[in-house]
Point group: D2
Chain length 344, copies 4
């Protein structure tokens, strides 16, 4: 029987992707949608300006949007997917956890908190056990798990594949799609025939979230990875798909061949939304490219290419679909992990 799920922030860009992914999902059944006060009471069709590339699911379209408040969500909902602006998330997500809901959240608030697991299942599923610490400390009946920022998710799996070599220094330059900023985040006047070498707070997210994700959890405490990361973030005129240039220096020397093999063999998981292979490694030097490769593995794969030895360690490019693997799909996958681990 499918788990009844709710979606907080259902009308936004990631909210719409969540609905696109959850509607056909065999393990989940959409039972509640929330949005801002101005949308509450409307049908979802009225409230959402539906813009993803498949038709709005008819049954979801007719659902009534609720306020983003635990009292307005039915008790038989067992899992909450949340994609809210961080200021809103910080305010409304904890009450859901207190009220007993398990929350898989894409919102950036709380991601770096010591007792909140920040999880990419194929990378650090074992961090999920931090939920025991969380419940102890917060006294919640529910629980909160976060997925990282879209630009973080793109490169961390490739680093995870190299972790055994001893990660030391990482430079990463990003070429990010406009959908990462939400529907209204980047105006056309800003980006046509242009690029913007700045995305507020983004560099910090890449630098800190990656170290938490690749850290060790000893059952009680999470220590962050000791590597140093420096990021430079750019917005470019693409719709979907974040492309990243990476240089990684490790304790042991790396060869391009060894890295390609490590990436290709990096294990996927036996969860429904986890693609196999997780990392698709191109041999031609001009791939991955956003429009060509963002839908690999139904948008859940990581693509890598351009592997070469440089004066500064190993150099390569990677790509992921920022609103699927980098946001909505990441939350759904965390939901599958929660289900698999008995949290729901």
């Amino acid at each position: 029987m499918a788990v009844r799920v709710g979606v907080l922030g259902a009308t936004g860009a990631v909210g719409q992707r969540l609905i696109q992914l959850l509607d056909p999902h065999p393990d989940f059944e959409i039972a509640a949608l929330t949005a801002s006060e101005s949308s509450a009471g409307k049908t979802y069709r009225q409230a959402a300006k539906w813009r993803v590339d498949s038709p709005i699911p008819e049954d979801v379209a007719e659902m009534t949007v609720r306020e983003t408040d635990p009292d307005d969500v039915p008790n038989d909902v067992d899992l909450i997917f949340s994609s809210l602006p961080s200021s809103v998330g910080a305010e409304v997500e904890p009450p859901f956890c207190e009220a007993g809901y398990v929350v898989s959240s894409n919102s950036s608030n709380g991601r770096m908190d010591d007792d909140i697991p920040l999880v990419i299942p194929e990378v650090n599923a074992e961090h999920l056990d931090l939920l025991e610490v969380q419940r102890d400390e917060r006294g919640w009946d529910g629980a909160m798990v976060k997925n990282p920022n879209c630009s973080t998710i793109t490169f961390v799996p490739t680093l995870a594949a190299l972790a055994e070599y001893g990660l030391e220094k990482v430079h990463v330059s990003t070429l990010q799609a406009v959908s990462g900023a939400g529907y209204d985040g980047v105006t056309s006047m800003e980006i046509i025939d242009n690029a913007i070498p700045f995305i507020g707070s983004e560099e910090d997210k890449l630098e800190t979230e990656s170290r938490k994700l690749l850290g060790d959890f000893d059952g009680a405490e999470l220590s962050h990875n000791s590597m140093q990361v420096s990021a430079s973030c750019n917005r470019i005129p693409t719709i979907d798909g974040h492309l990243e240039n990476v240089w990684v220096e490790t304790e042991e020397d790396l060869t391009a061949d060894a890295v390609a093999e490590a990436m290709r063999e990096y294990p996927s998981l036996d969860l429904r939304s986890s693609p196999d292979p997780l990392i698709h490694v191109f041999e031609v030097p001009d791939r991955p490219q956003p429009r060509m490769d963002r839908t690999l593995g139904d948008g859940m794969a990581i693509a890598a290419g351009g592997l070469q030895e440089s004066p500064f360690g190993l150099q390569y490019n990677c790509l992921a679909h920022n609103t699927i693997r980098g946001a909505a799909g990441a939350s759904v996958l965390n939901g599958e992990l929660l289900l698999e681990n008995g949290y729901i």
Copy 2:
């Protein structure tokens, strides 16, 4: 009296920019245009598919295009600007030099030759004296000076401003405009809603040309700079303007403030096409941007911004107009330098 100049490869993207810049230039007078055999004999208007953003100069439009051969160029032409595919340049430029022409070339052939000065006037004008070595070795009556690749020109002036701190390691990621590949270099199917993380030979040019440009010339021999450079090159959907993310590590520690000052005070030259200031430093973090800032200093300025201290030295972004400062304007400026230094 204006110097009579010829343009080799006059119908191409850079050739057209050369004509746009040379036509109103008070020191130069366009006296000969050459192109491939199929264009020879036509008027320039017929031969060139004019695509720059100012009307084709009427007098140039009526000139007859010649073959790219020293015998076809009048003797009273004193200076040749060349922008040819490197394979063509390698074949036809030396005969022009032998025949006594002074050549300011944008073509990539020969740039790394020991006796060919590779020059950005504001950075290494003193390398021009390598021409004495060149004439000794090659027995040319003429001479050949090269400007670097467009992506090299964008970041080298900012490094030059920091040279006194002792350059050690440079990482650079580029976001390059389509015009850098010439009119037919990038198809629309390749680049709309996309980015390509590879430009053939481009990384090598950034890595090697930058070390030559920042090297020392002792009057007899040129030693390349000892810094290490690693580049990652990307094509994005912008028309003009290469944007680059740079990390630079130096012997002495750098602060963002010191670097901003060093860049702002880096001297321009008293040549007609040299802008003042040479480097425009933005304080707002989201600039420079290609469409907004590529025309600073009539397309001859370097724009920098986003200066910040990182775990790996100083991090910043820079931008230049790739077909003006990065190609046609670079050649014209070298022509002005040759004139100033009595080579014409």
Copy 3:
């Protein structure tokens, strides 16, 4: 048992789409691929720069590309799909028909010939009987059927839905995607931040092909529709999907409601690639849009919207995926019609 099919011009933009559509098709089995002389002998993987948005089918990738010559295609191939430049098509398609092959062609050569059926199955399937006339006149064992130009296919089904009102005058302005010109047809320098109000021969195709498609076939002769059509064609910076603004004047007065109903109820066919509904009519005024609506009906539906009464008859917009419904899918659908009607 699946019909064995060959694809002429298999490496081009439409050729790749043909392979994408034919590979999973239950009624057809790809048995031969041809391309230009320079590709012959290579594997398809080597010969084609694969650029459609699904991975290259593995079995097709390993097939050896043949020359475009009937002698090089196995005899047990029963149906040929052709997408060649018209000059090549004019030369090589007739020999295939002489040699007994049934050809479903997307190439523009011969489309307006009196004895060649130009067919959109949902619109004028009965024109297929013109093949009897063709065989009589040409003495072919094989046969040739054509689908119209991509921009013609986009608006003709909507006119067909209104034919009973007596079509008199049609104005149509097109906003066409770059893929319509093939992979190298439009350079990025031409189209980024731009539009081109001219596509060679395109206006004529819309004007003449539409009248042939909507003409009457009396079993012996085809008379073209008497309506007058004037087209104005533009290329814009979109990847796929032709959008068209149409005004249609009819003998009987039209209301927007009647037209919407006529379009919605216009019948689809019981062929595998024919979508149901054929015409999707939007009520919101800002649809159809290329990126949002080009994949309706797996890229085989026609989308219409913006229906309103004007001083000059009924005004509306329509859209179709130009390389699926407008080219490769159109040829495949004609192949299905040929199969259904016993020509194979």
Copy 4:
């Protein structure tokens, strides 16, 4: 001595263009800037997110932004340029006229009022005398003149050149740039790899404003032109420059040659911002194009091309820079006309 001018709505897209055009203008001196309440009191540099392609004028940058209220604007300002949302314009422009200011407005409110001259100086300068009627009826010391909508301005001068042939029917399809909607009007998610076949109220503006502009003023009353116009409006991914496909049917038959000549010879005016020629007619069929031709005549010229005879009269394309000729430049030109005619 320069006329002191004020700019209402100075921080918006058209407001910035107004400042770009007015700052170097020898007849006008910027003396006051207004914006919304939230900007009042700030310097212009702080209040405006400057995005036009030339640096912000330093003296203007330091001016303090005022509220949009006649009491806040100094009395020695003699001319007001206004570019406000129509709802704001309807409320605040009349008080300025009452208070004695002469207003040249780009805002759409009141454009169709019987006693408000809607003027393109080269087309209908004589309509300016309607100001006498206006003052009689409204009792204003000041006066109000409007320029039309950007998409109207693009095609009306070409129709004016054909007026003597007896205009009867006009079909026009527009391909409009994103800047026409203001800085935040079109999001990047809406328009990259897309087109939108709808712009609210735009079709109506083209249809009604064109008839007013080409109407007759007998000294007392303005009668609108009797031609019928039907428009279809599209937004496409270009930054600046509206391109339009036009079919025009006239009483007398038109030939392409006669129309080309009529357009080329259509007179310009002896006003500073009026270009000569007013209409630039291309002979090559693929022009005008937005990126190539929008800056003709410093952005004040109309470009036309693709002239051909069709079943439905004469068919052609035209183009104008929508924020210069179509908005800010149009208002400035009307200011020059007001000055020339002694209204200031």
